[in-house]
Structure formats: structure tokens, C-alpha cells
């Protein structure tokens, strides 16, 4: 693959130089801190505020557990993580086509596959760094805030991997949109449309478990050492296909595109 190394280096340097990688990592890090904190202190905060603050309504919240902290983390990362993944991928290819920098690179001995793959891998690395950071900080905070917490390392790592896969799926679908169009907004539109459609399908019986977003609940279960609650092999393969197939389609389209 001509030029892949040089182009991947350029992509990663661009993410650092434009602060996208550090900013995404810090935002994820904040979710890693706030999720266990909110889970741990929500009940105490509401108790401290008293019934007056809740309009006289008595809210009974059970005592917080490490499972609440992990659940909160997974929920936050899956919601905001997918949103951020779409932002990351929406202009990667379309902006370069529109600006003309794609033509600059592709009149050099760099294959179109290398051009796309370098961008795709760079997005994956960015999201991986962010997810790892958030999960690591979330783990530390959960252990510190919950005396009874004993999160299993293996299950927690599996949770982080599944989260990354689920989030990266939407980056891949947005990446396809960005390759098919010349507009970042259109790329984002395709990403959000994919999110809505897969969200609707995920609610359906049988087929729903194969949607990437369906990995979120089993991920949270694994994170606290509980059984996943479903057979993960099929959904995991489906999620990987949700990553590989959009990239393949993007390449098939891009190799024929005139720049």
C-alpha cells in the first residue's frame, strides 16, 4: 500500500496539531470522571436538597452501587462518544476533496486505498485513545468512590473494547457518507441517519441484537463482572462488519471518483 505510513503519520500529526485528538481525549476523560461521581453522589445530593427542591415529590433512589457507576459511564460514552465519532469522521474525506488537498496527495505515488485507510485508522486510534482514557479514569474513580467495588479487569477491558467497537461503527458509517459526498454536513447527515435507523432496528426482536448499539448493555454487564446477557459472537461479528463493509464501500466508490 503505497504511502500508507507517511499518510497515517500525517493524519495523526494533523489530529495533534489541530488539537482534535487531545480535545476528544479530554472530553472523554471528563465523562470518565463525572460518570462515577454522578452515580455515587446523586442520591446524597437529592437528599441534601430535600423535598423542597423536588417540588414536594418524594424520590426514592436506592443506594448507589459500582454497577450504577459503570452503567453511567457506558451510557455517557455511548451517547456522546457516538456524537463525537460522527463529528470526527464527517469531513475527513469530503473536506479534502472539496479543498483540493486530496488531488495534491493522489497525484503522488499514494494509492487511494492508502489515502482512505490512513484516515480510517487515524479515527480509530483517536477514539481508542479516548475510550481507554475514559474507561481507565472511570475505573479508578469507581474503585475510589465505592468501597465495595471490585471491578474485574478482564470484564472491564472487554467492556472498553465493545464500547470502542460500537462507537467506531458510527464513525465508519459517517466515513462512508463523507467519501460518497463532497460535503461534511452530508457526511454527518448520513452518520446521524445511520444512528437513527440502527437505533430503530435495535428495538426489533431477533435482528435487533445485531445492531452495533445493542452491544452497549452487554458491555456494561461485562464491566461489572456480570454475564453479558446475550451471546456476543454474532453481534460482535455484525459490529465488525458494520466497520469493514462501510470502509469497503467507501473504497469502491472512491477509487472511481474523479477529483
Amino acid at each position: 500500500m503505497n504511502g500508507f505510513r507517511a499518510l497515517l503519520g500525517k493524519e495523526l500529526r494533523e489530529q495533534l496539531r489541530t488539537y482534535r485528538l487531545p480535545v476528544v481525549a479530554i472530553v472523554f476523560l471528563l465523562f470518565g470522571i463525572t460518570s462515577p461521581v454522578l452515580a455515587r453522589f446523586t442520591k446524597e445530593l437529592l437528599d441534601a436538597l430535600g423535598a423542597q427542591a423536588t417540588g414536594g415529590i418524594q424520590i426514592n433512589i436506592p443506594p448507589p452501587t459500582p454497577a450504577d457507576a459503570v452503567g453511567q459511564l457506558v451510557k455517557n460514552l455511548s451517547q456522546f462518544g457516538i456524537f463525537i465519532a460522527i463529528l470526527l469522521a464527517m469531513g475527513t474525506v469530503s473536506a479534502e476533496k472539496e479543498r483540493g488537498t486530496a488531488a495534491l496527495i493522489l497525484t503522488k505515488p499514494a494509492s487511494r486505498l492508502s489515502f482512505l485507510l490512513a484516515k480510517f485508522v487515524a479515527i480509530g486510534i483517536n477514539l481508542a485513545v479516548a475510550v481507554v482514557l475514559a474507561c481507565a479514569v472511570g475505573y479508578i474513580y469507581t474503585e475510589l468512590l465505592f468501597e465495595s467495588a471490585a471491578l474485574p479487569i478482564g470484564g472491564y477491558v472487554a467492556m472498553a473494547i465493545l464500547l470502542w467497537v460500537a462507537i467506531f461503527t458510527y464513525a465508519a458509517l459517517t466515513f462512508l457518507g463523507s467519501t460518497l459526498t463532497r460535503s461534511s454536513a452530508a457526511g454527518a447527515g448520513i452518520g446521524f441517519l445511520a444512528l437513527i435507523v440502527t437505533g430503530i432496528i435495535a428495538a426489533l426482536p431477533t435482528i435487533g441484537q445485531f445492531m452495533p448499539i445493542s452491544l452497549i448493555n452487554p458491555a456494561a454487564n461485562l464491566g461489572i463482572g456480570a454475564p453479558a446477557g446475550m451471546d456476543l459472537l454474532g453481534p460482535s461479528i455484525a459490529a465488525l462488519l458494520f466497520i469493514v463493509v462501510p470502509f469497503g464501500l467507501a473504497w469502491l466508490s472512491f477509487r472511481r471518483q474523479e477529483l
Partner: protein, 428 residues
């Protein structure tokens, strides 16, 4: 909730969030920072009030990476001789090399619109070749086909002996290309861009360092090499564009309108670089600025409405197609002298066209010999005294205007197009 727990929770959270917020605000307030929409106050509000995601939204959508504050332009100090000295060790095409660019019936259609039709072109190796035509003639389409950025719908072509249909990178290794509106990564420095391009050509270590150094010297950007491209002037960007195009020492350099958007100083600099590359690479230069072509090119082709009109060395084109022109400038203080001259000369059978300006008369003739003999006696009859009488050297512009205004030439079959030095099949 103990105090320790509160501190444990609050302090890192506050530190990280404030650090992110202040970093974004600090970046926004930098003098050289440009933001989309141009209003920094709006972006400041977004950063401060959209909670955690504000800085993220700013870094994704607010920063304009392509444009910084334009720093003072840096004129080219490298002379043509110095450029020739640097390029002396570069590979040169042998004298008997086959044509650098050869096209046969090359065409491109977009639906029902023919952007280019039946282009048969042969560009001699080692020449600086001007590819002329009015806007929309098909110049950019041709160059995009020759670089492989677009695919032809008819015909074939080879550049530096490599078919444009191949996709194995051989074409890219043999050419250098500069877009008519070259765009770069604004966050990169000039040196970083050249290093990236060098790595794509497989260069590394000392060789990469040396090549980048040589190119920076040729384009005169050595002292701006560490500056961000976003702050380069238009002329500096164009020179950087030529730099990235010659880094691989290409056999054929394809330049699409390289000087059209530049001020006179920038044009002079870029033309000096192109001139300095004479003999090193075949330069294929599209433009509609004819004076620039006359300055640096030794061969030209004229394209009009997607068709090749004519091709050949400039001098031969001037001899063959330029209409002979005489210019008469009456002595001042002779009211109506220009009109008197024009009215006497216009009816003559050897006159094709008379153009009268406030202080001179320009006469296009179809028989220069007869005109030369008859013109001065006619002037004498009018009683007008002349300050200047000149048989003007016709310009390429005259040839261009003459040819592109003759619609019948647009339909001349390729074999009948006069191509000097080539036979009907494009052979020398």
C-alpha cells in the same frame, strides 16, 4: 460525604474542565487565529456556555486551519542561473527522447457536454510548452486527464512514456503537478509539506533532507520553511506548489494556470522558476496570459471549445498566423490627424482593418509588401507629419485572437491541423 471525598471529586474535575476551557479561549484569542464566520465573540460564547462540549465544538468547527494572518510576502531571491546550477545534477531527457506527452483522440464528456474532443497532441521532450485557450476551452480537463485525476471517455495518452490508464503509481512517479488553485494543509509548515511529499515518493533520511533543502532554495522559501502555510501569501503558496511538484525531479511538470491568480511580482517570481527549469524537465503550462507564454515557452498549442486549433513553435506560429501590423503616430498638435489618416488608409485594397486610437492608427494588412510601399506616400498626401512609423512585431495575442475567432478551425479534423515538425500521425 467527607471533605476528602469532595476534594477528590471536585478538584480534578474543575482542573480538567477549566484547563480545557482556558486552552480553547487562549487559542481563540491568538492574534493569528482565524475562525469560521469571522466572529470570535460568538465562538467565545460557545466555548464558555456549551459546557463540556463547547471547546470541542470550537476545535472541530470554529478554527479555520487554512488561513492564518498573512505574513509579509517573501520575494524570490534565487536567480535563474542559481536554479539551473541546483538542477544541473538532475536527470535530463536525452536529445532523441520520444515526445514527453502524446495524446491520441483524447476526449472527455460529462453527460452530453464535451469538455474535450479528439485531442491529438505531441509535446517535445525538454520543451516549455504553453497550452493556451480561453476559459472553458478544456485546458484544465486535459491536465486532469494527464495526471490521472480524471478518466478519459475517448482516446488514449501517455506522459513520460507511461499510459495515463495505469494505476500502479508509475505515472505519479514521473510527473509533477500543480493545480490552478493549489491548496495545502494550512496547519503544516512549508518544510513539513515537502517532507510529506518526499516520503510519498519513498524518500527518507539524508536524501529527503537534501531534496527538500534544494527545492526550498529553488523556490526561495528557505527562510519561510518553518512558517505555517496558512500564513503564506498567494505567491509563496504558488511557489510552494511548484516546489512540491518538482521534489521528485519529474520528467514532465504539469502546471495548470500557475500565474493567473498572482500579482505582477508573484508572476515574475513563478515565471523565473519555470524558466530556471528549462532543460531539466518538460514543462506543460496551461494559461490564458499570452505575454507570459511568450516570455518562457518555446512551443505552444491553442485549444478552443474542446478542440486543438494549432500547435507549433511560437516563432513559426507568429510567422504563419500573425497579421502584419503597421502603426502610425502623428505628431501632436495636429487636430484630427488620426481621423484623416484612418479615412485615407481604410479604403485601400491591401488593408484588412484599421484601428484608430486617440493618438495613433494601427493598420492590419493582408499584403505587407504592398502596404509597405504605399503607406508613406498616402500619409504624405494627407499632410500629416508623423512622430512614429513602425511595422510592429505581431504578438502571440494577435495569433490567438485570430485563431480562436475563426470558428471553422474548431472543426478541422486532427490530421489536417497544422502541427509543425510532426507528420499526420504525430511523429517527428
Amino acid at each position: 460525604m467527607s471533605l476528602n471525598q469532595i476534594l477528590l471529586v471536585v478538584i480534578p474535575l474543575v482542573i480538567v474542565q477549566l484547563a480545557l476551557l482556558f486552552f480553547a479561549v487562549f487559542d481563540l484569542l491568538k492574534q493569528e487565529r482565524r475562525v469560521r464566520g469571522g466572529n470570535k465573540a460568538v465562538w467565545a460564547l460557545v466555548i464558555v456556555f456549551v459546557n463540556i462540549l463547547g471547546p470541542l465544538i470550537y476545535f472541530f468547527f470554529g478554527r479555520d486551519e487554512e488561513h492564518g494572518v498573512e505574513e509579509p510576502a517573501m520575494p524570490l531571491f534565487t536567480s535563474t542561473d542559481a536554479i539551473a546550477q541546483i538542477t544541473a545534477g538532475w536527470p535530463k531527457a536525452p536529445a532523441d527522447a520520444p515526445p514527453a506527452i502524446q495524446t491520441s483522440g483524447l476526449g472527455k464528456r460529462y453527460g452530453h457536454v464535451a469538455a474535450l474532443e479528439g485531442l491529438d497532441l505531441s509535446v517535445p521532450s525538454g520543451s516549455i510548452f504553453g497550452f493556451l485557450g480561453p476559459n472553458g476551452a478544456g485546458k484544465t480537463t486535459t491536465i486532469r486527464l494527464l495526471t490521472g485525476l480524471a478518466s478519459p471517455t475517448a482516446g488514449s495518452a501517455s506522459v513520460a512514456g507511461v499510459s495515463i490508464a495505469g494505476s500502479d503509481g508509475r505515472l505519479a512517479r514521473n510527473i509533477g503537478y500543480l493545480d490552478q488553485d493549489p491548496r495545502f494543509y494550512g496547519w503544516m509548515t512549508g518544510r513539513e509539506l515537502l517532507e510529506l511529499v518526499g516520503r510519498l515518493y519513498g524518500l527518507s533520511g539524508y536524501e529527503l533532507h537534501r531534496r527538500v533543502g534544494d527545492v526550498l532554495e529553488i523556490i526561495g522559501l528557505g527562510s519561510a520553511a518553518e512558517r505555517k502555510i496558512g500564513g503564506y501569501s498567494g505567491g509563496m503558496r504558488q511557489r510552494l506548489g511548484i516546489g512540491q511538484a518538482i521534489l521528485n525531479r519529474p520528467a514532465v511538470l504539469l502546471l495548470d494556470e500557475p500565474v493567473s491568480s498572482l500579482d505582477p511580482e508573484g508572476r515574475r517570481d513563478v515565471l523565473a522558476i519555470i524558466d530556471g527549469l528549462r532543460g531539466t524537465a518538460t514543462v506543460f503550462l496551461s494559461t490564458h496570459i499570452l505575454s507570459d507564454v511568450e516570455r518562457v515557452c518555446d512551443q505552444v498549442a491553442i485549444l478552443n471549445v474542446g478542440h486543438l486549433v494549432v500547435q507549433g513553435p511560437i516563432d513559426e506560429l507568429l510567422d504563419r498566423y500573425a497579421q502584419p501590423v503597421f502603426e502610425l503616430q502623428p505628431d501632436p498638435q495636429q487636430p484630427g490627424a488620426v481621423d484623416r489618416l484612418a479615412s485615407v488608409i481604410r479604403p485601400q485594397p491591401w488593408v484588412k482593418e484599421v484601428q484608430a486610437t486617440p493618438d495613433s492608427v494601427r493598420i492590419f494588412v493582408n499584403d505587407p509588401k504592398q502596404a509597405g510601399a504605399a503607406l508613406l506616400p498616402l500619409v504624405a498626401k494627407t499632410g500629416v507629419t508623423l512622430a512614429r512609423y513602425e511595422r510592429a512585431r505581431p504578438s502571440l495575442e494577435d495569433v490567438f485572437m485570430h485563431l480562436v475567432e475563426r470558428p471553422e478551425l474548431k472543426t478541422v479534423p486532427p490530421a489536417e491541423i497544422p502541427v509543425w515538425g510532426l507528420d499526420g500521425r504525430g511523429r517527428r
